[in-house]
């Protein structure tokens, strides 16, 4: 041992040292791997388990759930539970689904179309206020909507838009975060020569935007569309303010609060089915698009 150490100090060669510690290193590597995989598997279970119980308990009836809260295999009461939750009461998954879909699709289309347009204005043209405008967009990037919601609500009340989907859709035309992302994506990839030659061929600016720029931006638009959709679908604060009075206008996340109602108090199976209904569309979207979603999250992080 000492001999090797001396040797090592005199001539800093790595080979003898590596030789010496190889079995030790191997053992360390195995210990590390056991710990790492154990933690990862534990976290995997932690992520899946609550949803697993939810889906399983959605197929069980109240007596089964109260006697054994946790079961790994489904039972056969799914249709009863669905009947109960769809029979009467205010919870209406189909209504919530349609309402949420209208709002989410509307605001997603607004967000990606107009954000791409705004980003295009910031990238392709030279105008006086361009830099000031971009600085402004950076500045408003993180203003949380919750804190100006009071003024927003009272304003909507005055112009009679409470109970309408419009205040949940139109404001997404001005989505600073998406504009920022689109600009970052567009800046290095927009082929200015092609735009110039299209101009020379006599194409108008609006046509150039629609026929050249939008198709080029498809990948970025798809990524942003997923996030815009999910964000809009999941939001609770704004819809709860604006649509509270009219139960036929409730969105999916608002429907969830109805599951606390008295008629479901002892119908555990029905509660689980209701929850599963609100969550299922997102699961489908996620497992179809998870690859793009993860990539999109990673991209979003680099901007910081």
């Amino acid at each position: 041992m000492t001999l090797i150490m001396d040797n090592n100090n005199a001539t800093p060669e790595v080979a003898p040292m590596m030789e010496e510690s190889r079995p030790k290193k191997k053992k360390k590597a195995i210990v590390f791997k056991i710990i790492a995989y154990a933690v990862c598997i534990f976290l995997t279970i932690l992520s899946i388990f609550p949803f697993w119980i939810m889906f399983i308990n959605a197929t069980r009836n109240s007596p089964e759930i109260t006697s054994h809260g946790v079961a790994l295999l489904p039972s056969n009461h799914l249709t009863e539970n669905i009947d109960y939750i769809t029979k009467d009461g205010d919870f209406n998954a189909m209504r919530g689904f349609i309402n949420s879909l209208i709002i989410a699709v509307g605001s997603t289309l607004c967000t990606i179309y107009f954000s791409t347009m705004t980003a295009y204005a910031l990238v392709a043209y030279e105008w006086k206020l361009k830099n000031a405008f971009f600085t402004f967009i950076m500045a408003i990037l993180m203003i949380p909507a919750q804190l100006t919601g009071i003024g927003f609500y009272k304003f909507m009340y005055k112009i009679n838009l409470v109970g309408s989907f419009i205040p949940l859709i139109l404001p997404s035309i001005a989505a600073a975060g998406t504009v920022f992302f689109m600009r970052q994506y567009m800046k290095p990839s927009l082929p200015m020569e092609i735009l110039q030659s299209a101009r020379i061929d006599g194409a108008g600016e609006i046509r150039i935007f629609h026929t050249i720029v939008l198709p080029l931006m498809k990948p970025a638009m798809a990524t942003q569309a997923i996030f815009a959709f999910v964000t809009s679908w999941n939001q609770l604060f704004m819809p709860q303010m604006l649509l509270l009075r009219d139960k036929t206008k409730y969105t999916m996340p608002m429907m969830v609060s109805l599951l606390r109602g008295d008629i479901y108090k002892t119908e555990y199976g029905a509660i689980y089915v209701g929850l599963a209904m609100t969550v299922l569309p997102l699961f489908v979207v996620y497992f179809l698009l998870s690859k793009y979603i993860i990539a999109g999250v990673a991209l979003g992080g680099v901007k910081g």
Binding site: S47, I53, W127, K130, F133, F155, A174, I206, P253, A298
Partner: protein, 352 residues
């Protein structure tokens, strides 16, 4: 119009020469479209974002109360009366403390776990397999409706017959069912845990992408010099991750201060038990929709929270951008020094 055309001629002769004759109407300088394409954003921003913001500020200085108030007027005797009232309001203070407690209890473990996983997932030796799968699973809770997740946890922790209580009693850990959501501290921990559970995957992915953005040459030289994975992470990865960690801190802080969905859905919506899970945004909401339509209180509370966010973000932002380059240089120097020292230590002491 004329001057615009002249400018265009100066900037770009070719396009004017070619487009002028066939087009009847003289074409607008194409750079003017920078303004035209920005119009939708600006108009919508002014109407639906800026005006409500200004209006909220205005309301916080008025006597706005009730749904159909005839005339809202600015306070005359004491313009800051609403603010003073809110600052003295015990429930508001409680909500503020709750919000911070819940945020801290979620953010610290979230960052630590995300850093640990980042270190593991970006190792150069002993790579962990199945990373793609783990990322997808860890991120999954983030995309699910927070309101649903909150009610799901409330149901799982149900008293006396929820699945968690069932497991605990049957396995002998508890002698009888425990009412988790009736204990103030535990209720806050549950909310913080859900927040943590929903966001650590997101933070991890962002940090990993940050590590992948670091110049790989630094890692290669560290590897060649025989620096251990642990030392490489502490001395090279962490300092380089600082900007991204600060970014995560700011976004998490803003999200945390305005937290609403989970605490609203996990209890009765009023912050049970005994205001333990009442957050700032819930307080604001309840001021208006709790029945009294007290716009004046709600807007004053909003502006106070807004102020806190502004100060905190400005603080972090300054740390992030001011003297950025100077600091970077200093940082690099220090890192090189530290790295050399680590190298030396490594050579002297072998692997430990």
């Amino acid at each position: 119009m004329k001057s615009l055309e002249n400018e265009q001629e100066a900037v770009n002769e070719i396009s004017t020469v070619i487009t002028d004759p066939p087009v009847k109407r003289r074409r607008l300088n194409h750079n003017a479209f920078g303004y035209i394409f920005s119009i939708p954003f600006v108009v919508i921003y002014l109407v639906f974002h800026l005006y409500p913001t200004v209006y909220t500020i205005f309301l916080s200085f008025t006597n706005a109360l009730g749904l159909d108030q005839e005339k809202v007027s600015v306070l005359t005797s004491d313009i800051f009366a609403n603010y003073k009232k809110i600052l003295g309001n015990l429930t508001f203070r409680e909500g503020f403390v709750n919000t911070f407690l819940i945020w801290i209890m979620n953010f610290i473990p979230q960052m630590l776990l995300a850093l640990l996983l980042t270190a593991w997932f970006t190792r150069h030796r002993n790579k962990i397999r199945g990373q793609g799968f783990f990322k997808v699973v860890f991120y999954m809770p983030n995309i699910i409706t927070a309101a649903s997740v909150a009610l799901l946890f409330a149901t799982l922790l149900g008293y006396p017959t929820g699945p968690v209580n069932d497991l605990m009693v049957k396995s002998g850990i508890f002698t009888e069912s425990y009412n988790f959501m009736n204990n103030k501290t535990i209720a806050r921990i549950v909310v913080a845990f859900i927040q943590f559970w929903m966001w650590y995957g997101y933070t991890m992915i962002i940090l990993i992408s940050g590590v992948l953005g670091i110049n790989p040459e630094i890692f290669e030289s560290a590897d060649v010099d025989g620096a251990s994975e642990f030392k490489t992470f502490i001395h090279i990865t962490l300092p380089n991750l600082k900007p991204i960690m600060l970014y995560t801190l700011v976004t998490s802080l803003i999200g945390g201060i305005t937290m609403y969905d989970i605490p609203k859905s996990i209890t009765d919506g009023m912050g049970a038990p005994r205001n333990a899970t009442l957050t700032n945004t819930m307080f604001i909401y309840n001021q208006v929709f709790g029945g009294s339509y007290s716009y004046k209180n709600a807007s004053a509370a909003s502006m106070l929270i807004f102020l806190v966010i502004l100060v905190l973000s400005a603080f972090v932002f300054l740390m992030l951008t001011d003297k950025d380059e100077a600091r970077e240089k200093k940082e690099n120097k220090r890192r090189m020094k530290e790295f050399r020292r680590a190298q030396k230590l490594n050579q002297q002491g072998g692997a430990f």
